[in-house]
Symmetry: C2
Subunit: 476 residues, 2 copies
């Protein structure tokens, strides 16, 4: 049912518009965080910002009190599957896990204001380090005091390392022990992203969760040796990231398990990464076109080894079916551009599958995108005319979205609001089912809704994966 | 200071994407509203809609009670200038005049949701008949029950006749007594927009204020005869529009004064139009590149003849300076795409003039777009985390808008929110000054703010126009 090659994060190419500000190899100054004096400068800048007359002081309040940057509390575990419900507390608020994180590449979720993202229920979203490093660049990020202030976002942020975009966007990227070497898409000059520089950039961004630079190799590569080298290098790079991290009291560094589809390599990587005791752990390198059965095997193997008291983040996963299965396999956090990107293609995610609003059959359809959906688009307009009444919905009809779909960007925004709400609500329902220890019946209902109760349509990989954790969807 | 050639409504060409659904000449069926049986059909459709199980019933409630579709109450008049403050009541709520109306061409204000437009304080916006007639088309509009329902907009709508776009967008349009003839940009077939068909379309749209089809000739044309023909034809077309109007109890038809820059023709047109006793009166054909002094002369002449008890709408006007002068000359309502279009070019309107956020000097500027502005963008983020709290601002900085300006559509949306708020707030301040009989001192302060108190920068045409209504900005 799902085309796995479309899964995962595959950002649009931005060539011709990009302007690289990463550390140029030629001049080769040490990035601030990798140098003792640089670290000091960084801390001074950080503290100076706190005493400046900034109207966004509250954004720093938690940093100022130097609370632990992450706490993880298990709330419930499923008695059948490996699913967990937990509470994750970060500097900008508490979060309920399992959790889906929308991707705000350019410090904005594709057309939505921070207020709209907040109203969609989002309390943790991603920013891409690569894009923020290009524009506004590290100097501006330092000058304004980080990405929260830049974008007026009072909740949590997670940033990737920047390495993934490097490898996926730039054709000439090569990986050496030092870091990722590439040519600037701006002026073709040689550039280098090291683990230290990635962390320095993320320190300047000030995201609540920062990711290590890892050596990402396509899971579908036949070169087992390259995958092993990448896995080992990712471990060494984690050590360099930990050493370079200048703000461990306000930003939590997550490691990333690599090892391709080789379960032995994954096990070895888990063992080494666990030793480094980072506050959270990611399972990386997936959603790159591998068979779903292989994906499940890797997630299942890793969660079987990872400590129970830390959040587990599977990177680049976003289809509803993938999420419910991955949660059953013991994963807690996910991110993907799919819900927002597919909105821009005119698609609404519903409990009964995806519908494309560009289809002419919706031209005069006055029903909401999904009956009963409580997102701001689908909720009816209330009769009140209080302009402060955020409680009124927009009463958006399929007809209106069809009308807008190809002519006005607001069509995509409305679908983005709906899709983000849908994904976050799906996760809330998953969590509730786990807390009530009803996750197996939740799964049965989810698949029945998705495939109109036609079991012959259930994807084989999902049926098999769930069978491995004690739920047989094919039972009568 | 202002380039008048950029003023007014000049919608982007949409050729290559348009699909005409206007009445084709070849088959030539009477448009519904021009035929007795057609009118009956139309009314039946209208009433059927009221009894259908539509979730947006409240949108019809005022129509159902058949209240008068427009009432106009003069609240105050300036004791020096010709400025007026009034209250205009339409089927979807009361409005304070003077009023600026943003333009939502495609039934959406360029990237904003209806909720955002509402939060910007807008209670009356424009839809373009030409664009809605192309898509979704009259059949869908009839089927869904009009444009309010289509776009989930619970406040007032005004539509133009469609004729202006026809003449300005389509190269091959020709005007005959019958209507505007043109070739379909879709399949090049001959098409005709008659006064009857324009009204029929606007009846299907269901806008609270509808405009007559008029014969618009560029004010800068040297052909006085053509202007006179157009003026006389506009009067005859008004009569046809009145006869064709199928919903006078729920939609108010405004006439449009024509006559170019010829004050004799304008006077004659005023006299004839006033006889027809429409609920509101527009001054048309301006903002087409004429000298501002000519513009002022026409507005001043018309308002001197128009009855005091009806709203006066000057079409296509939108620069702040033009608005404050036009109000002094006795005009009440205005519309223009400029505030929203200029937002998409990265411009924020402020009391001190327009600033372009693309300028690099704003990269690390943490101040709001305008200090003290209460729009949702400029208002600080409140510390509360209530997702229903529409009262919290976004705390958007110039830095963030600069960051987004060329990379993310939300940059344009934020500026659109600010600019619309700015224009509506300007009108509120104008009204308050009139009510307090302080409009002359308001004007002095307005010009001082706009031009940094440098009187040599004040536009000569504005100084002269205001002198004619008793305010000399050059007084010490």
């Amino acid at each position: 049912a799902f085309n796995s090659s479309k899964s995962g994060r595959s950002p649009r190419s931005r060539k011709g518009r990009t302007r690289l500000k990463y550390h140029p190899v030629s001049s080769a100054p040490s990035p601030p965080a990798s140098h003792p004096l640089g670290q000091l400068d960084c801390l001074i800048t950080f503290h100076l910002l706190h005493t400046s007359p900034c109207p966004y002081q509250f954004l720093h309040s938690l940093d100022e009190h130097m609370l632990p940057p992450l706490s993880f509390e298990l709330v419930a575990t499923c008695s059948t599957t490996k699913a967990r419900a937990a509470t994750l507390t970060l500097p900008h608020g508490s979060l309920s896990l399992p959790l889906f994180m929308p991707v705000a590449t350019q410090a904005s979720l594709k057309g939505l204001t921070a207020q709209q993202l907040e109203q969609a229920g989002c309390r943790l979203c991603l920013n891409n380090t690569y894009h923020l490093a290009l524009k506004p660049g590290q100097a501006v990020l330092d000058s304004v005091g980080g990405a929260h202030i830049l974008q007026g976002w009072k909740y949590n942020l997670l940033t990737d390392s920047g390495g993934f975009q490097m490898v996926s966007l730039l054709k000439l990227a090569t990986v050496t022990e030092e870091g990722v070497r590439f040519r600037s898409p701006h002026d073709d000059s040689p550039m280098l992203l090291t683990p230290e520089h990635s962390i320095s950039l993320q320190n300047s961004i000030g995201s609540d969760i920062i990711m290590q630079l890892d050596d990402v190799v396509a899971t579908t590569t036949p070169d087992r040796h390259r995958i092993e080298v990448a896995m080992q290098r990712s471990i060494r790079w984690l050590d360099r990231c930990i050493a370079a991290h200048a703000k461990p009291s306000s930003q939590s560094l997550f490691c990333i398990i690599q090892g391709g589809l080789d379960l032995e390599l994954r096990r070895e990587c888990c063992k080494e990464m666990i030793k480094r005791d980072t506050p959270g752990i990611a399972i990386g390198g997936l959603s790159g076109g591998e068979a779903k059965s292989d994906y499940c095997r890797v997630v299942d193997t890793c969660t079987g080894l990872l400590p129970a008291n830390k959040p587990r983040y599977v990177m680049g996963v976003g289809y509803p079916v993938d999420l419910v299965v991955s949660v059953a396999l013991g994963a807690d956090m996910f991110d993907c551009v799919w819900p927002t990107r597919t909105a821009r293609f005119g698609n609404a995610i519903t409990s009964h599958g995806v519908i494309n609003l560009r289809n002419a059959k919706y031209a005069a359809d006055l029903t909401p995108l999904e009956d009963g959906c409580q997102c701001v688009c689908c909720r009816p307009v209330s009769a009140g005319d209080d302009i402060e009444d955020g409680g009124s919905g927009l009463g958006i009809t399929r007809s209106f979205v069809h009308h807008l779909a190809t002519r006005e960007t607001v069509g995509a925004h409305l679908l983005t609001l709906h899709n983000v709400w849908h994904m976050l609500t799906l996760m809330r329902h998953i969590r509730q089912a786990i807390v009530e220890d009803q996750y197996p019946s939740f799964l049965r209902q989810f698949f029945a809704d998705q495939y109109a109760a036609d079991k012959t349509e259930y994807p084989d990989w999902a049926v098999k994966a769930l069978r491995c954790v004690g739920v047989d969807l094919m039972d009568v």
